[in-house]
Subunit: 190 residues, 2 copies
């Protein structure tokens, strides 16, 4: 495998876009079918405009433990029914790889799950949130502005989205009576 040979610089634009990025993911609600708990609200939102939920701007790296992937995520403000916009969530394919998040703007939660346990770490500008090895992770925008954060993870971590697609996260984040509320996920299958 060829490792990165020369130093380089990237810039995070004011809107959170990483420049240059070598891969960009844009997920609309239709790319997350069945992930929100309120199926009727999801159908309505899809019929109305299939909103853009989030974008990930990534600088890809060789799949080697000593390299570090850098990406930024811009998670839009919004809800599907009473459930805040969120990312799909994933485990690392190589399960023992950690990840570091650094909040740039907006507010939210980093949801983490492992063996049926769940934690919800606040994400704020200037806050570092640590995803330990073996924990699935998903971010949720609980505020009125885009949630923008920088992430760094080992080059050989990889992504496993399928497990969360199949089993769901143990908890979901809702607005209830105007409050951000972390609740058990009724759609959790195991």
């Amino acid at each position: 495998m060829n490792l990165t040979e020369r130093p380089f610089r990237l810039d995070v634009a004011d809107d959170g876009e990483l420049r240059p990025a070598t891969s960009t993911v844009r997920r609309r609600l239709s790319d997350m079918a069945g992930m929100y708990h309120d199926a009727e609200a999801e159908r309505s939102a899809l019929a109305a405009d299939d909103p853009l939920v989030y974008e990930v701007f990534q600088y890809d790296m060789p799949a080697f433990a000593g390299e570090l992937v850098v990406c930024t995520t811009v998670l839009r403000a919004g809800k599907v029914g009473d459930e805040f916009f969120m990312t799909k969530g994933h485990y690392h394919e190589q399960r023992d790889r950690a990840e570091v998040y650094y909040g740039l703007s907006g507010r939210g939660r980093l949801l983490l799950a492992k063996d049926g346990e769940c934690e919800a770490v606040p994400m704020v500008p200037g806050g570092v949130a640590y995803v330990p090895p073996y924990w699935a992770h998903r971010t949720v925008n609980t505020g009125p502005e885009p949630l923008v954060f920088l992430a760094v993870y080992p080059g050989d971590a990889g992504h496993d989205y399928g497990t969360i697609e199949t089993t769901g996260f143990p908890q979901i984040v809702l607005e209830r009576a105007g409050e951000v509320t972390v609740a058990p996920n009724p759609a959790r299958t195991r």
Copy 2:
């Protein structure tokens, strides 16, 4: 080895201090004896007040490739003679480990060296600078404010300061006629 078991959050204070930190390094000029090219200016500065040059606030991690160490550095503004304040600089003990820097405030250069080659990557707020595997790295504050940045590197990277202490960096960063100037290091031994 016990890996990190639970998620957690850290905060970067406005002054750049990482809270909580599990280890803090404070380096005064006397801790960097002989590293600046102007020995007479160094002696004068040491005699006057032995200035604090930089602080590193780190959250230590298990020495495992899948974990990620997070630290912030606050590098003071100043010069020794015409040479800007800088960090000691190091290779990673495990040479094939990369590092990611993210500029929070202030301006400077990330100096990198490998096999006698050198690069100088600008560090600005919102800028990401990548230290590839095998490159020694040192940061230099070229502005009037503290240079503050976040760094992330693999848990098993380790530090080798001795090689740079012995050989010096290929280049140094000076103020010449009011301009930031990267120049060959006259004290470079090999």
